[in-house]
């Protein structure tokens, strides 16, 4: 009997389950079912593949066990570390695809009857380029997120020209390899160029653009799986890879829109290098307040909107935020959270941190929904957010963030900003909100300041 009659139906079931898993991911109430469907789909995919004749099960079982044993502890990281963990997984996924591609290539070199068609070589080249550039690019992104590498964009003259020509040379080498399959020496060159391109691609990108970049690397990892599917004539790889590829692409487009920036601008714009005109601003003074003042004003308020940013994640202050939420709730204050799409270091970062602190998700309101309510809001409390609440985005055409949709925190009757010092935020842009008449600065560590406010509320 043809073994394909067993394998292909299993693959079909697996593909349908992968699609269902994304369908169920569309709502929090069904999302866990989605994960279950994804796991079953993956087990079916692996199980079906094991029916292929001539399998060497020992060589397969050992690395599976090793991967599983190492994978479990890395899933237990604190949720503040999820962005770097995700970046690290993208690196592993890219490397896996690249290694399979390299192995396939040398296999075809060694055995004459296994020689590849021009199309297959082209797909193989796409697979290794995407795989290896995802590998080094994601490692760089993880390094920036862990602050092992400077998070500020690093730029130099001719950078974009160099990066693009590097990619151009890699693609050219790939084309040559398709035309002249015997020029096997081109293959390692392509790999090296892809590895170098991944590094150079991330160097000029700053930490605040990480949500877009992580999503884009996610997409590349999926597309390298698609290319692998074309090489191996495996339609399940193509289907699952395409789902992942489109997911990463959509997320990065959403992130770009949330910053009012184009793809090219994120990848080649080196955001944060631009120094905003700050001369006029320097003369102004800010008003600062104490935790007790903040507690008094907030307990007298009817409505408080909390706007979290990356600073909340860095200070690991989400549990203190929860205490403040409880305490204000007890005093009858209506507390909501305003979530900007690019707050934090990956899409949805703030939602996960606040969910960890057991804040009900119907209290987390998206930017478009909360903005009309801001003028009616008594207090806006900003915790570690900066650019996403900078009113310059609305009116200052010279500001690098002009046109970016922001949360209208400045329209609240009173604005509190928890901030370590007056240093400008990540993008190096002055924030006029801090100088507003209705703004009170709460200088200090977010965790300590929130503890102080909660303490004062209890008294």
């Amino acid at each position: 009997m043809n073994i394909d009659l067993i394998i292909q139906p299993i693959y079909l079931i697996s593909a349908i389950l992968f699609i269902l898993s994304l369908l169920w991911m569309g709502h929090p109430s069904t999302a866990r079912r989605g994960v279950f469907a994804g796991i079953v789909a993956m087990l079916a995919a692996i199980g079906g593949t094991l029916f292929e004749p001539g399998m060497n099960y020992t060589w397969i079982a050992i690395p599976v066990v090793i991967g599983c044993v190492l994978g479990v502890p890395l899933a237990m990281v604190p949720l503040t570390a999820v962005p770097q963990r995700t970046a690290l997984s993208h690196a592993f996924g890219g490397l896996a695809a690249g290694l399979v591609g390299a192995s396939e290539y040398y296999l075809s070199q060694a055995t004459a009857h296994h020689s590849l068609s021009g199309f297959e070589i082209g797909a193989l080249v796409a697979e290794v380029i995407l795989g290896f550039l995802t590998f080094t690019g994601s490692l760089m992104a993880a390094g920036k997120l862990m602050e092992w590498i400077p998070t500020r964009p690093i730029t130099y003259k001719g950078q974009n020209a160099m990066n693009l020509s590097l990619l151009g040379v890699a693609l050219l080498a790939g084309v040559l390899l398709v035309i002249f399959p015997t020029w096997w020496f081109l293959f390692p060159i392509i790999i090296l160029l892809a590895l170098a391109f991944g590094v150079l691609l991330i160097i000029p990108i700053g930490g605040a653009d990480m949500p877009t970049v992580i999503a884009l690397l996610n997409s590349y990892a999926g597309l390298s799986a698609v290319a692998m599917g074309f090489v191996l004539d495996n339609k399940l790889l193509i289907a699952a890879g395409a789902l992942d590829g489109s997911s990463g692409l959509i997320l990065s487009i959403i992130m770009c829109k949330a910053m009012n920036r184009s793809f090219t601008n994120v990848l080649f714009g080196a955001f944060g290098q631009v120094q905003a005109s700050s001369g006029a601003v320097e003369q102004r003074t800010v008003k600062s307040a104490t935790a007790e003042d903040a507690a008094q004003i907030m307990s007298a308020a009817r409505s408080v909107v909390i706007i979290p940013g990356y600073g909340m994640a860095v200070a690991q202050a989400q549990h203190r935020v929860r205490e403040l939420f409880d305490e204000l709730g007890r005093e009858g204050v209506d507390v909501k959270f305003a979530i900007h799409p690019v707050a934090g270091r990956m899409p949805g970062h703030m939602n996960v941190l606040l969910a960890e602190a057991e804040i009900p998700y119907d209290k987390l309101i998206e930017m478009e929904e909360i903005n009309p309510d801001m003028p009616e809001t008594d207090v806006a409390l900003i915790i570690g957010a900066n650019d996403v609440i900078n009113p310059a985005a609305r009116h200052d055409k010279s500001s690098p963030i002009f046109g970016m949709p922001i949360i209208d925190a400045d329209k609240a009757k009173t604005v509190f900003v928890i901030k370590r010092s007056m240093n400008p935020g990540f993008a190096g842009i002055e924030n006029e909100l801090f100088y507003g008449d209705n703004t009170l600065m709460l200088f200090g560590d977010a965790k300590a300041m929130l503890t102080g406010i909660v303490q004062a509320l209890k008294e």
Partner: protein, 97 residues
């Protein structure tokens, strides 16, 4: 050639289905979504497994085994961290607090 058209169709259809489904996912689920699609992209484990259905040299076996280990890492890690995050999403106050 027919097979190539079929593969291209599978790609196009999956990409469109992915596009339609992902567009519906609310922003609050974007982080779990990404860690889940990360696990799904580890379907590249199939490529590693298929290397062991043919005669290979020891060097190729090691590359393949490494690829399988990395992909298995992503499958296990990706799905479990996704589930861990989703467990935390509550609509109402948890009764314990």
């Amino acid at each position: 050639m027919g097979n190539l058209v079929l593969m291209a169709s599978v790609f196009a259809a999956s990409f469109v289905i992915g596009y339609l489904l992902i567009s519906r996912v609310p922003p609050r689920l974007h982080t779990p979504l990404m860690s889940m699609t990360n696990a799904i992209s580890a379907v590249t484990i199939l490529g590693g497994i298929l290397l062991f259905s043919v005669e290979t040299t020891v060097a190729q076996k090691i590359l393949g085994a490494l690829a399988i280990a990395l992909a298995a890492f992503n499958v296990v890690g990706g799905f479990s961290i996704t589930d861990r995050m989703l467990k935390m999403f509550h609509k109402k106050e948890p009764p314990s607090s």
